[in-house]
Structures are given as structure tokens and as C-alpha cells.
């Protein structure tokens, strides 16, 4: 076992996969000589050379489209979005080309590519650098969307994403890069389509992902002291959702709280609630509650920023209210 920081876990995943398969390459802004804005590709340029760790000009839509063309012709590109918010500039290439082209081409081409990078609300980064794009992209057919949350799952999921033959949007969180965890010395891969039961429990199901998993974990400490026993599920896969795991939990607890960092309107939680109503309405003892970010551009001011995203105390209160059936 070796204690590893999350950004290094991602780096190990890329390094191992590049060593394993020489069609895997990285491209993006400052991924090469500079080593990546969060050092996820540090030293890989020296190891693999300038074509396999390709520093691109600042041209998100064009280098994303270039990765699609490279994937169509047999390579396995990993795009680093220096900040995932920049991918709005590549929305057309991600939606029309990465997402839809396999279907539109009647199966002529597959697009094995990973688009990864930091998203989420950081520390006073301002609205444009604090985006949660997962909700924007979830309606695009043909994309898989994954959010990692720990060094262990970051490494295993990224390896799985690189090996997947489909376009995978891989969300990291800007505030989680320095999380530490002992990782196995042996090679491992974490499946992309499985939610992770973080804490089994019986009172209520908390569905969360990315950094909010850690806010939930903090809230659970308080809830445990009050004798409550919530089940915490990290969704991991935001598309497709793992309804086997979600459904089994609902059948056990009959209550659901969703904790997400994306905005409430049109968010991941909105989709989950609709799907739960479709599939498990009869299992529910209470309406599903969602705790989401406010529907506003993330303000720069620190106090306003804190008010924008869900805090552990709010999660604690929501669970208590639900268990007391005061929803």
C-alpha cells in the first residue's frame, strides 16, 4: 500500500494505460512541458514524448474535434480540460461528434476517448471557473459521464474510462486533488457503471457524487451521534445511472435524499427523481428531497459562495427531518 494524492492517482492511471497501450495519448492545454495545471500529467512528456503528451494551442473546440477524428481512426485520446468549464467551447464537438457520431454513422465508427479535468465550485474562482457541466451534458446521447471522488476510485475509474470504447466525460473536482489514500500496489480497475455504497444503513438513502460525498460523510458523523443510520451511495456514474444499486437501497430505506453540487434546475437530481418516480414510486414512504446548489452564477464573495452550495449542516437537518417524517 502506498499513500497517494488524488492527482497522483490519476497520473498513475494515465501512465499505466499509456504503458499498456501505445495508442493512448494525452492532449490539452499545458499537459506536456508544464505537466498539467494540477500536475496530473507531470513528467509524462519526458517519458512518452511530444506526440503522446501533446501540448495544444488554446483551441478547445478544434482540439476536441481533433481527438474525435483520432479516435475514429484508431487512437485512444485523453483530453485534459484545463478547467472543465472551458469545454463549453467544445460543446458542439462533444455533443454532435463524440456523442452522436457513432449512431449517426450507423455504427461505422467508434469513439474511444476520455475528456477529463477539474470542475466544481472551488475557492472563490468566480462563476466561469466554478461550473458543474455534468447536468448540461447528461441529455447528450452516446456519452458516458463519470465523477470520481477518492484517490482509489479516481485511479480505477480513469483506467476503465481509457479502456472503454465510448466517449467518457470524466469529472474531477478541483478541491479533491489533494485527498490522500493508501492505494493497492497491484493493478486494479473500477467499473464505470457501478455506484459505490460508501456507508450501508437502513434509515434513509443519500445519493451523492463528487465533492458532495465528503460533505455527506461529514454530516453522517453528526447523524450517527444522534443514533441515525443513513445509507450513503456515491453515484460514480452519472450516465447511465446505476439503478440496480439505487433501487436496492430504496427498497431497504424507502426514503431518498439527493445531495448534488450542480444547480437544481435541470440537474442530475432532477433526472434521478423523475426516474425514481418511474421505477420505485410504490417503494417510497416520503417524497424524494434534493439538496442542490442555488440556481445562480457562483458568486466570487466567499460568504455568498458558501451559501451557493450545500453544506453538511443542511444535509444533517434534511436527514433528521425526513426520518422524523417532517419533510
Amino acid at each position: 500500500m502506498a499513500e497517494t494524492l488524488l492527482f497522483n492517482a490519476l497520473r498513475e492511471a494515465i501512465d499505466e494505460e499509456m504503458g499498456r497501450d501505445d495508442t493512448v495519448f494525452v492532449l490539452g492545454e499545458d499537459v506536456g512541458v508544464y505537466g498539467g495545471s494540477y500536475k496530473v500529467t507531470k513528467d509524462l512528456y519526458n517519458k512518452y514524448g511530444e506526440l503522446r503528451v501533446l501540448d495544444t494551442p488554446i483551441a478547445e473546440n478544434s482540439f476536441t474535434g481533433m481527438a474525435v477524428g483520432a479516435a475514429m481512426t484508431g487512437l485512444r485520446p485523453i483530453i485534459e480540460g484545463m478547467n472543465m468549464g472551458f469545454l463549453l467551447l467544445a460543446f458542439n464537438q462533444i455533443a454532435n461528434n463524440a456523442g452522436m457520431l457513432r449512431y449517426t454513422s450507423g455504427g461505422n465508427y467508434k469513439i474511444p476517448m476520455v475528456i477529463r479535468g477539474p470542475g466544481g465550485v472551488g475557492r472563490q474562482l468566480g462563476a466561469e471557473h466554478s461550473q458543474r457541466l455534468e447536468a448540461y451534458f447528461q441529455a447528450v446521447p452516446g456519452l458516458k459521464i463519470v465523477a470520481c471522488s477518492t484517490p482509489y476510485n479516481a485511479k480505477g475509474l480513469l483506467k476503465a474510462a481509457i479502456r472503454d470504447d465510448n466517449p467518457v466525460l470524466f469529472f474531477e473536482h478541483v478541491l479533491l486533488y489533494n485527498l490522500k489514500e493508501d492505494l493497492p500496489n497491484h493493478e486494479y480497475v473500477v467499473p464505470l457503471d457501478k455506484a459505490e455504497i460508501v456507508r450501508p444503513g437502513k434509515d434513509v438513502t443519500i445519493l451523492t457524487y463528487s465533492r458532495m460525498r465528503h460533505h455527506v460523510t461529514q454530516a453522517v458523523k453528526g447523524l450517527e451521534k444522534k443514533g441515525l443510520d443513513p445509507e450513503v451511495i456515491d453515484l460514480i456514474s452519472l450516465k447511465p445511472l446505476d439503478f440496480d444499486t439505487i433501487g436496492a437501497s430504496i427498497k431497504k430505506t424507502h426514503r431518498v435524499i439527493i445531495v448534488e453540487e450542480c444547480m437544481k434546475t435541470g440537474g442530475i437530481g432532477a433526472e434521478i427523481i423523475a426516474s425514481i418516480n418511474d421505477r420505485y414510486f410504490d417503494e417510497l414512504d416520503a417524497p424524494v428531497v434534493r439538496l442542490s446548489s442555488q440556481d445562480i452564477p457562483t458568486p466570487y464573495n466567499g460568504k455568498l459562495e458558501t451559501l451557493t452550495i450545500v453544506q453538511p449542516k443542511q444535509i444533517e437537518a434534511a436527514v433528521e427531518n425526513m426520518v422524523a417524517l417532517k419533510v
Binding site: 494551442p57 474535434g65 475514429m72 481512426t73 454532435n96 457513432r102 450507423g106
Partner: protein
């Protein structure tokens, strides 16, 4: 009518071409023309749907460039993609079946007129939005260089031909990709088919520098203009650009001056282009011109050319029958092809 640009001089009689090669080009141009004429007929008879953009008038560009490629080279097109697909070797029956939305279509009836694909023929696609095909083509070209220089595969010398129009040359992806192609010396031909009109927007009204080939210079890339109504001239510049690309000497921007003989799409009333302009360009029909060349140079006689036309007409008729008789996709397969495993 805007003053036409002076066409670059090209001395066709001096160009060496074997009779078989001349007939191969002629056949390809006839195939493009007859195919598109049949599409127009089917559209107006209500057998074909959606947006259909025909290529009539521009045949010398597709044939001149794509017939200068090898079969393992790549072709990337736009929404006006039928003829590029045909030149790239996608069988007419599979293109026609695609336009009929049939399971036997080259995109299994899921793509339609603007989304023709064939991995077998390295046809990277018809791309419906302006400019989005350029980075995809760049990716195919990058892949060739990657295989050659990162993976040490000396046989990886495939070239990519990327087609787009004058309107696209004002789009950011054009400039971004020219920059990257020159920066990394990628084996790619950027072929602008300047047909003077982006639907109703005259080229001169949309751009500060109408001579598109000159935009190559700022990227340190060769830019050439060519008479897009002369297949021999197009072929000559394409062959030179392909040789450069294949030798690892990087990209070329080719601006082919051409004209579409029909509206932007079959839904376009085509009210803005003057009669005088249309007649002037119709008089320069690339197929008639090439017929004249083949006859003058004794590369073919009337009988041989007629045989080609008859053979192609039969192929188009067969393609139509094939398309009409082919099955539609099964409703059970509605979700097929979303993911690679499907």
C-alpha cells in the same frame, strides 16, 4: 454581378494523362452528376426527405482531388457530401439507400443526406454543421503522423483530404486547424470549394479578404488557387499537395473556384444569384469542358464517352432499384449503435 476573379492559368494540353486515367476521371464526374440529378428527381417526387444539398457544377473538385488519393487515404466532407462519398469509393447503391433511409444505406439509414459515413472507404463523414469536420479531419491526419513518428510505423503515410466551402473559411475552426496542421506538419489537404455563395450570403459580403488561399500564408503554409471547373488543373495541384503531405512536408490549402449549378439545397428558392452569373458559370460546365479536352487530345472518342455515360446511367438506375427495394431499419434496432457495444 460581382466582378469575377481572374482564374489562374493552367495549360492543360501540357499535362500528361493516360487515356485510362482520363476515363477514370470522366466516369467519376459523370457518376457525381447523374447521381445528383437522380436525387433532385426523387426529392421532387417526394421519395427523398430532409435537407438535400446537391453538388452539380463542382464535380471537377471532388474527382480532381479524391482521385489523386490512394484508397487508404481519408476523406472528410460537409453536408454537401454525396459526391465526395462516391469519389471515395462508397458504392452508389449504398449512398442512394442512405438517402432513402434504408438499412442498406452507408450509415444504416440513421444518418441521411448530410451524414454519409463509410469506415471501409475511410470516408470520415458528412458533417452537417459548418466547420466541424475540419478538426475531425485534422485528427485523422494527426493519427497518421502519430503512427509514423510515435509508433514507428513507416507505412503510415496516409493523407487526409478535408473539404469545405467559402462560408466555412470565416469560421474559427478553419483558422485553428490551419494553425495546428502547419504547427505539427500534418498530412492534410484543406480544400475550399469556393462556390461564391453561403446560401444567400455572397462571399464578398462575408469576408474581408475574398482570396481564401492567401490565408494560408500567415500559417506558413502553401496556399494555391485553382480553376475548380477544370479537373486537370485541380488534379495537378492536388497531386502536388498529396506528394508533399505524404513526404511529411505538411499541409496545403487549396482554393478551388467553382460554382453550384443548383440552389444551396433543394429547399432554397435561389433568388439572389443573377441570371447572368449563373449563365456565365454554366457555360464553364466542368464535364463538358473535360469531354472537349479528352476528344481534342485524342484520349477518347465520342463512342467511348457515351459508353461511360450509359454504364453510369445503368449504375444509377440499379442504385435506385436497390434503394427502393431495400428494407427499412427494424424498429427493434432503435437503440442500436448508441454505444460501441451495441
Amino acid at each position: 454581378m460581382v466582378q469575377e476573379r481572374t482564374l489562374p492559368q493552367f495549360h492543360a494540353p501540357a499535362a500528361q494523362i493516360a487515356p485510362e486515367e482520363g476515363l477514370r476521371l470522366y466516369e467519376d464526374m459523370i457518376l457525381g452528376r447523374f447521381f445528383e440529378d437522380k436525387c433532385a428527381e426523387m426529392y421532387y417526387r417526394g421519395k427523398m426527405f430532409g435537407f438535400v444539398h446537391l453538388y452539380n457544377g463542382q464535380e471537377a473538385v471532388s474527382s480532381g482531388v479524391i482521385k489523386s488519393l490512394r484508397s487508404d487515404d481519408y476523406v472528410c466532407s460537409t453536408y454537401r457530401d454525396h459526391v465526395h462519398a462516391l469519389s471515395a469509393g462508397v458504392p452508389a447503391k449504398n449512398v442512394m439507400a442512405e438517402l432513402f433511409g434504408k438499412e442498406t444505406g452507408c450509415s444504416k439509414g440513421r444518418g441521411g443526406s448530410m451524414h454519409l459515413f463509410s469506415s471501409e472507404h475511410n470516408m470520415l463523414g458528412g458533417f452537417a454543421f459548418i466547420g466541424e469536420g475540419i478538426p475531425v479531419a485534422l485528427g485523422a491526419a494527426f493519427q497518421s503522423r502519430y503512427r509514423r513518428d510515435a509508433l514507428g510505423d513507416s507505412s503510415a503515410d496516409q493523407v487526409t483530404a478535408c473539404f469545405f466551402g467559402d462560408g466555412t473559411s470565416n469560421n474559427g475552426q478553419f483558422f485553428e486547424c490551419l494553425n495546428m496542421a502547419a504547427l505539427w506538419k500534418l498530412p492534410i489537404l484543406f480544400v475550399v470549394e469556393n462556390n461564391k455563395w453561403a446560401i444567400g450570403m455572397a462571399h464578398e459580403r462575408a469576408t474581408s479578404q475574398p482570396e481564401i488561399y492567401k490565408k494560408a500564408a500567415v500559417f506558413g503554409m502553401p496556399g494555391v488557387e485553382v480553376d475548380g471547373m477544370d479537373v486537370m488543373a485541380v488534379r495537378a495541384v492536388a497531386q502536388e499537395a498529396v506528394a508533399r503531405a505524404r513526404a511529411g512536408e505538411g499541409p496545403t490549402l487549396i482554393e478551388a473556384l467553382t460554382y453550384r449549378f443548383r440552389g444551396h439545397s433543394l429547399a432554397d428558392p435561389d433568388e439572389l444569384r443573377s441570371k447572368a452569373e449563373k449563365e456565365a458559370w454554366l457555360a464553364r460546365d466542368p464535364i463538358k469542358r473535360f469531354e472537349g479536352y479528352l476528344l481534342e487530345q485524342n484520349l477518347a472518342d465520342e463512342g467511348t464517352l457515351k459508353e461511360v455515360r450509359d454504364r453510369i446511367q445503368t449504375r444509377i438506375d440499379d442504385a435506385l432499384t436497390f434503394a427502393e427495394e431495400s428494407p427499412e431499419p427494424s424498429p427493434d434496432d432503435l437503440y442500436k449503435y448508441i454505444f460501441a457495444e451495441d
